[in-house]
């Protein structure tokens, strides 16, 4: 297994008395990973540690196998989109991205070519000419992401990249993040808007009180919460009540309630099993199943359960 | 008997009158914030000290005057005649010295009046309320203005009152005239300070820079102007507000009563040439402050 792009071993970080991170052990490989957690849980601090902006008090941090704070050359492989809405405001978008790309070891001509290609990719081909001071919040976010990916880094850290962007920019940037992940880069995205994280990736890291609360695939993580069975809503044509009683026969199904004459709700501890069993049963009984949804199998419910339980 | 009731805690409408004039809470907030700063308390103590000193000085003079006025010692009266003048001297000195110390207090309290609001983006909060630009301006001026009123205008009145109270009968008639010029000049000083600090706060970016600029500006101007006047540039004298105030005070107090001795204020640096010009200069300072305030509010807020 190749070395992970990002790794943190027993990392703790304090800002004076304030605890930011407490004994974090984490390895992140290629693809898009969502970094979630309430405000003040230490998400930004972890990003800054991986970017070599901060030093861990305990444990060590590795970016592509090296210490990003002290070993400067490894930051060649890093693209960072910081959280703050800060720029060299007097520059135009193109100049800003080009200047920073030069710092990554590109000649003037190379940097200009890469900047043009990247600005096109983030949708700033025209508006990128404007001075950053006059740009809308959506354009500023696109500029910030452009400077993070112009030098084609294998690791991209995006700290709340969508804050303040309007719906059009959000849709474009989500598609861009998915594409970056598919190119095999390790993309770590922190965001508070869960349904947008779901649209980007299936893999999340969840931090709470400075500790690693959960990590892995959203679906499997949700499955691990035994004390929170899945609710599944079914729209059924034909005799719902009879079909409902049959459902009780399925393994893992705990309760079946009749919401209306054509709608049923069941709770089960294994959604995967229900996803196989229920349609088979429906077919056996000649019942048409026009809706099979589980409202609390999504990331928002996972987040809510993980936050409510200590 | 108790009825069984369950009340929701959620949102509830608010009835009742809304009588308060919006300027008033703005002024009160300025004091509340000012009072939290240690520097305010210290500078207020200084003001109180200055008032105490002048009070003692005034009372002791008048008691001595009263004692010497009796019987055989009448001959000494003429020598002590300057004591009457010295009552004017006390008031004039008080207004000038307190002008500086009050400048400290008002700088600490009111330097952030407009500057902090602008830096924190608070204009949107103020002007999404039902208040007009005039309310805001008057509120800030009221908040800043009542400080010099408390430390300059009112104490001058108190000093004048004690002077009238203690003065021997003969002198009392002369002192009655003194009320209007004394309190008037104090009010003029108060107005200059208020308009000055509020104007500067409207122009400035950070309250700390405004505060230092105001205090340093006053000291620098009076120092530089004194130097320039000594080296022959008479006209520069009008640039320093403190010097203008002193001229107006001396002029007013002299006009107060014609029988006063000519060398009224021995040892005090003399004022500018013509008191009228000084008055004009002070008026210009006040106008400049108010203009800066209006310009800033018009620029930041397009509210009706």
């Amino acid at each position: 297994m190749s070395e992970p792009h990002l790794s943190a071993r027993n990392v703790s970080k304090l800002f004076g008395p304030v605890r930011a991170l407490n004994d974090i052990d984490l390895q992140i490989g290629p693809g898009v990973t969502g970094l979630l957690g309430p405000n003040g849980s230490g998400k930004s601090t972890l990003m800054k540690l991986f970017a070599g902006e901060l030093l861990p008090d305990e444990g060590d941090v590795r970016l592509l196998g090296h210490d990003p704070f002290h070993f400067a050359p490894v930051r060649r492989g890093l693209g960072l989109c910081p959280e703050q809405d800060a720029f060299y405001e007097d520059l135009s978008g193109y100049d800003f991205v080009e200047a920073l790309t030069r710092l990554n070891g590109f000649s003037a001509a190379d940097a200009r070519a890469r900047t043009a290609a990247t600005m096109k990719r983030v949708g700033l081909e025209i508006y990128g000419r404007k001075r950053i001071r006059e740009m809308s919040r959506g354009m500023r976010q696109r500029t910030k992401i452009a400077q993070a990916i112009a030098h084609d880094p294998p690791v991209v850290l995006l700290d709340e990249p969508l804050t303040g962007a309007d719906p059009v920019a959000r849709a474009d940037l989500i598609a861009l993040v998915r594409a970056l992940g598919q190119e095999g880069r390790c993309v770590l995205v922190s965001s508070h808007v869960l349904h947008e994280v779901e649209a980007m990736t299936h893999q999340v890291v969840f931090i709470r009180f400075g500790r690693l609360r959960a990590q892995g695939d959203v679906f499997r993580l949700r499955g691990k919460l035994e004390d929170r069975p899945y609710r599944v809503v079914l729209s059924v044509s034909g005799d719902a009540r009879a079909f409902g009683s049959q459902l009780l026969g399925l393994a893992h199904v705990q309760t079946v309630t009749v919401l209306a004459d054509d709608r049923l709700e069941l709770t089960t501890t294994d959604l995967d099993d229900a996803a196989r069993g229920v349609p088979a049963l429906a077919q056996a009984h000649g019942v048409r199943l026009t809706r099979f949804t589980s409202p609390d199998a999504d990331l928002e419910s996972l987040y809510r359960y993980l936050v409510s339980q200590p | 008997m108790m009825r069984d009731e369950v009340h929701a805690i959620g949102y509830r409408r608010l009835e009742g009158p809304r009588p308060v004039w919006p300027g008033w809470p703005i002024a009160r907030t300025l004091w509340v914030l000012g009072w939290r700063r240690r520097a305010t308390k210290m500078s207020l103590m200084a003001c109180f000290g200055v008032f105490g000193v002048h009070g003692v000085w005034l009372v002791s003079q008048l008691m001595a005057r009263r004692y010497l006025n009796l019987g055989p010692r009448r001959g000494l009266l003429t020598g002590v005649d300057r004591v009457v003048g010295s009552v004017h001297e006390v008031l004039a000195a008080y207004v000038s010295i307190q002008f500086f110390v009050t400048a400290l207090v008002i700088a600490v309290v009111a330097s952030g009046a407009i500057a902090d609001d602008r830096r924190a983006g608070a204009f949107e909060l103020y002007f999404s309320r039902p208040l007009t630009r005039l309310h805001y301006a008057l509120g800030k001026l009221l908040g800043a203005g009542l400080i010099p009123f408390g430390t300059l205008v009112f104490p001058t009145f108190v000093l004048w009152l004690t002077a009238v109270g203690i003065a021997p009968p003969g002198m009392r008639s002369e002192l009655w005239w003194l009320a209007v010029p004394a309190v008037g000049s104090a009010a003029l000083g108060a107005a200059t300070l208020t308009a000055g600090i509020i104007g500067l706060s409207a122009l400035g970016e950070r309250s700390l820079t405004v505060c230092t600029a105001f205090v340093a500006g006053l000291l620098l101007m009076s120092g530089v102007c004194e130097g320039l006047v000594e080296s022959g540039f008479e006209a520069w004298g009008y640039l320093s507000p403190e010097r203008d105030l002193r001229t107006v005070v001396d002029w007013l107090l002299q006009v107060g009563h014609d029988s006063l001795s000519a060398s009224l204020l021995p040892g005090r640096p003399d004022g500018n040439g013509s008191p009228a010009l000084s008055l004009l200069a002070l008026g210009a300072w006040i106008a400049a402050g108010l203009l800066a305030l209006t310009w800033r509010i018009r620029r930041e807020v397009r509210a009706g």
Binding site: V168, R170, A275, F292 | A120, G121, R302
Partner: protein, 307 residues
């Protein structure tokens, strides 16, 4: 009387035409104000508040003409601005109380009302701390409390949920729903998160380049079921698409990595999808008729997407 009546309102700032002949009448308990950056949302709010007089046109808010009586309008309107605006040096409680006093309330009434509002927005012990020490979430709560303290009839919230973590966002959206259902003020919510609007609002005003693209109830905006189905598997499974094509259905990638938008051949029903899934041994954990999410409707409403 309608909440808002705008007839032919336009406003120009130098080169940009912020509002371009906007005419609409809106009613409802909670209205979503949507539009890309620079669509004129904030200008519209400022015009409603009488903070900015429009060049032309008539603005009536709650039946009051905002040009004639701006202060009266602002007395009955609450506004939680977007920026980090706060009153420097004050605690949360003092800020809200001062906001009340600025509307004419006596000090003691304002203080009691401030406590009520801070309870409503869920700012407990921290209300006594200075506002400078607040997190973004707490700032947002104070701003909402300041907008409600003088009991307005209409509250304008400008991007109240930006920067909030999921927990605080939930609480704020629940509060908006509570206001909508309760006897309290109506709400105009200007935001970029269409998800929040879907959850709290019943009507929507979509703007772009200073013009109204759509004004009316959300239901009218979302076309009925289009015969397409959204299907999601537990894990991203390209094999499902092949199985579906084998069964004659069309499958296009959906909003999420593990989602598909399936178009069935005419006359077929979803059992075909179940059969395809069973044949490929892939468990489908989500199947539902696809209704245009507000996002598709929004993107459809604003034709050119440059922003």
């Amino acid at each position: 009387m309608a909440l808002l009546e705008l007839t032919d309102v336009s406003k120009r700032y130098g080169a940009t035409q912020a509002l371009d002949a906007v005419s609409c009448a809106l009613d409802g308990r909670a209205i979503g104000l949507l539009g890309p950056n620079g669509a004129g949302k904030t200008t519209l709010m400022k015009v409603l508040l009488g903070l900015d007089a429009p060049d032309t046109g008539l603005v009536r808010v709650l039946g009051i003409d905002a040009r004639q009586a701006p202060t009266e309008v602002r007395g009955r309107l609450g506004y939680a601005a977007e920026g980090p605006g706060r009153l420097p040096g004050l605690s949360g409680l003092e800020s809200v109380a001062l906001a009340g006093e600025l509307c004419g309330l006596r000090r003691r009434t304002a203080l009691l009302r401030a406590h009520d509002m801070l309870d409503l927005v869920g700012l407990d012990e921290a209300r006594y701390r200075l506002v400078e020490t607040y997190s973004t979430g707490m700032h947002q709560r104070v701003k909402v409390a300041m907008a409600l303290v003088h009991d307005p009839d209409l509250v304008l919230l400008d991007e109240p949920t930006s920067g909030l973590d999921p927990e605080s966002r939930d609480e704020l959206l629940d509060l908006i729903v509570h206001l909508r259902e309760g006897g309290g003020p109506a709400v105009i919510l200007s935001t970029h998160l269409l998800h929040d609007v879907e959850r709290t609002c019943d009507a929507v005003l979509i703007m772009q380049r200073g013009q109204v693209r759509f004004a009316g109830p959300i239901a009218a905006l979302q076309q009925p079921a289009t015969g397409r189905w959204t299907v999601r598997t537990a894990f991203p499974a390209p094999a499902l698409a092949d199985a579906l094509r084998a069964h004659g259905a069309m499958a296009a990638p959906g909003e999420r990595p593990e989602a598909w938008t399936v178009t069935l051949p005419p006359g077929a029903d979803p059992t075909l999808i179940w059969q395809a899934a069973a044949s490929a041994q892939i468990s489908v954990v989500h199947l539902a008729p696809q209704t245009d999410s507000l996002e598709q409707a929004f993107l459809g409403a604003i034709k050119e997407t440059a922003s």
